[in-house]
Point group: C3
């Protein structure tokens, strides 16, 4: 299966992302909003982040992709998510769902499961979160682990890029979900988009770690590495397995 | 017009800011709260950020300046803004309005226009946001662009400091609005205060960029450069046009 | 009194924290959530941060310690705090209270005083905040100042570690409160836990400052220093007085 994806294809997706500068509306948790916005900006996308039900429709209408992240969920965010998905569906806009911590709280798990009735291009989470979702059909699953996995309709692609410091910085997974949403605005195939986002993010982590003494410097260096990432890096450093 | 502002005047405003250590109460969006607070601290001011209507009056009463930023607006923030402005007006406290993204959502634009009936010293935004406000009287307009413009009662001052990395870090404009509020507590002339804040922030950006590989390192280096900024830097590196 | 604490004891508490990897549920203000989470991760703990009353019970049930920080308080957070404390008490879980800014707003001060009826292991604040609490019994007081003080049932321990840059980065005190909560999951004696957290945080600040040009680099370097901190550093660099 992995032979079907040439690293050049991934670099081309990144080039298109940079050329298009997509707007990504992010409903995401307050812990990681700043870092997520900085990852999107460093990668060449434009973030917006309101969660107010009264105005989120206007924001989604102007966006090219939507991220729905369930961290720090509350009643207002639940309502905003419904409105945002309505607007995204009406425009055929790609949606990424990040079911943060649904393995920890039952109300959040049930809310996430109800969202599976919606049109979601990619669901990104760790193994426990994806397992807690239960059966999923029609969405690509993008699973973060020591070796990441992208589970699409035709098989399973493994990506071995990344660095252990990533687990020591809050919001790494959340930011990767936002980056996947941005990539969907440049690459309509959800498997290719997820692989491009994961590989690029992992390569940037590796380059950042080589310059870092610990997780604090790593977070800043990761933004620098994402900003400098080019198609050549994707072609040479992507590790599919 | 610009001949009327000597760079020495700007350095003196910064010296007074450092000596006074003003308290700035910030109603601002959750994406940028941390970075805004760190910019204020690095520049010598003291931030507070509650948005709870029950206690915001007590916080504004102890502040020296107020920032009203409309990002991540919600019902509670709208109510808190009204209370905060009542307290600020009762004390003759300077107010900065940052009409984030009012060009994107009509409810937010209408809310911002209604605020124009209040006493606002400086309104800072980008060109699209300022255009969406419609006619403004009685407030200085501070417009962020490739060359920034401060539009006061007696003319138009242009400031050519800054660096392109500033557009790749979330909250740069929001933090500059907060810094302008801090400067108003040290320099009562709103044109001078805005020019001092913009010039100092732009110089700090230039110095930070010279030490940075990308936007991640730049954000940290900007805080260092703001902390080290002195009247001599203002006198020698300000680029008015 | 201070002769009773050997620096080796503090290093052992840090070693246990790293071995246990405790989960710390943090009800904390939106300004500092990201930095607090990164401090916990760098120190070896695992943060969670929801404030939704509907699901906070599930999160606290899975945690090893609870932080209650009163910054950016609102009605939902007040309700969540009550539920979280009920769950923590039912499980005998250690709790840290951080009464941010209760010297500024009366409603917040009254809310904090009402919390004193709960079982709180450690209260961490600055001198003005601790003074505003009024009489406290049954909790260790951990007071941040030029020389920090830990006030326990048998006396007063002074800790002289730390660096002035700490006052120029938002959320330093809030993050130290979270770190104290993490330490309580590894060291049940609240005096020892607070001293270990304060000494380690102060040593990490000193090491970070030696590598920094200003507060921006300092914040990143502090995370690196916390990640690298070991029992040997505690044994050699702790300054009790």
């Amino acid at each position: 299966m992995t032979a079907a994806i040439a690293p050049e294809t991934l670099g081309q997706a990144w080039d298109r992302l940079r050329a298009r500068r997509p707007r990504v509306h992010c409903i995401t948790n307050t812990v990681v909003q700043g870092f997520t916005a900085n990852v999107l900006l460093a990668a060449g996308a434009i973030p917006s982040m309101t969660t107010d039900p009264d105005e989120i429709g206007d924001f989604v209408d102007r966006a090219d992709a939507l991220l729905v992240n369930l961290g720090t969920l509350d009643a207002e965010r639940r309502r905003a998510i419904g409105i945002a998905l309505d607007h995204a569906e009406a425009r055929g806009m790609p949606v990424v769902l990040d079911p943060v911590f649904i393995d920890t709280a039952a109300p959040r798990r049930d809310f996430a499961r109800a969202l599976l009735a919606r049109r979601i291009a990619v669901i990104r989470g760790n193994e426990a979160e994806i397992a807690a979702l239960g059966p999923v059909s029609g969405s690509v699953l993008a699973v973060t682990a020591a070796v990441d996995r992208i589970l699409g309709p035709t098989g399973d692609i493994r990506i071995a890029n990344g660095h252990a410091y990533g687990a020591l910085v809050t919001g790494m997974g959340c930011a990767l979900s936002a980056l996947t949403a941005a990539m969907l605005a440049a690459e309509p195939d959800p498997v290719l988009a997820a692989v491009a986002a994961f590989a690029g993010f992992g390569i940037a982590q590796e380059r950042a770690a080589a310059l870092s003494r610990g997780p604090g410097g790593f977070a800043a260096n990761l933004l620098d590495a994402l900003h400098a990432l080019d198609a050549d890096a994707l072609a040479r450093e992507t590790k599919l397995a």
